[in-house]
Amino acid sequence: MSNITALTEDERDCYQEITNVAMGQAADRLARLLNVYVVLPIPNVNIIERNEFKMTIKSLEDAPSVSAVCQGFIGAGIAGEALLIFNDSSFSDIARLLNYGSEQNTNEELEMLMDVANVLNGACIQGIGNQLDINFSQSHPIVLGQHRPISELLDDKHATWKRTMAIEINYTIKDHNVNCDLILLFTEESVHHMNRLISFLLED
């Protein structure tokens, strides 16, 4: 199969719009869980090489330490991973919103990370799947690391791929200091399949 080097403008637009709808559904779930308003950005969709990966995570590049979980998904010849990265400074506000005590230990932070990941990742993946008529199966979330610099966290993982489609969604919560990045990574073969699926949506 030929390499995917770039998306056409229509393809990028289509993935952005599909993501826009899916992340809205995910934000709604999180908003109801935390009783807040989640600010929705315009998602970034890019075909990237492995060495460009860290550069795509612009919104968290200044964070001194982050925590992250990843979760695989697969269905109808499409496979990928959802990576949720939290700026560690977010935890005190999330703890307050989830009614935890004032001081968090690492275990409680892990629990919060998993709770939010379950809501955001799941709704976003299913939201994309619904629009493409795919029922994605999701694996259990795996902790990539806690309280580490982002460069360290991403260095030793995700080393098997060369090129991928990355969709980055930066979620923030209105009036609260919560900042996280949900990054969806699709394998190169998946992008071929997905391009075929979306071609039906792009027809005139």
């Binding site: 403008e9 229509d10 637009d13 289509c14 952005q16 719009e17 826009n20 709808v21 899916a22 992340m23 809205g24 559904q25 934000a27 709604d28 908003a31 308003y37 989640v38 929705l40 950005p41 315009i42 629009q131 949506l201 792009l202 005139d204």
Partner: protein, 129 residues
């Protein structure tokens, strides 16, 4: 009589989906805008009666567009069409003067029922296929 309808969304696909979802037998002239600033410009030219407005857009987003319409008292009905389905988003756009909120992906029947509800089209109109 032909009604002038404005569709404002930064996504080309979303603009197409929106225009395809309007009742087929409805005599309209559609104009497209890629962001709120373009929409405001079109509205100021005069004649636009109804706008379908996205929220998340560059340059001027949907909220800012609604604020501008209100501030300048521009004569247009606005239906917000957005993927941001949080109750707070719906409340906020209604407070800013939108007559209705429709969630994405758009549904033909939902659009038709909203248009009937506000007397923009009448119930007797033919099918939209």
């Amino acid at each position: 009589m032909t009604i002038k309808v404005l569709i404002c969304d930064d996504s080309n696909m979303a603009r197409k989906q929106m225009s395809r979802s309007l009742p087929a037998d409805w005599p309209i002239e559609i104009t497209f805008a890629k962001n709120g600033a373009e929409a405001i410009e079109e509205i100021k030219k005069g004649g636009q009666e109804l706008m379908f407005l996205d929220l998340t857009m560059p340059v001027l987003d949907g909220y800012q567009t609604l604020e501008a319409i209100r501030k300048e008292d521009l004569p247009i009905m606005v239906i917000v069409v957005s993927g941001d389905i949080q109750p707070a988003a719906r409340d906020r756009v209604k407070k800013l003067g939108a007559i209705e909120f429709i969630k994405k992906p758009v549904d033909k029947d939902k659009i038709k029922s909203v248009l009937i509800e506000y007397g923009i089209i009448d119930n007797a109109g033919g099918d939209n296929e």
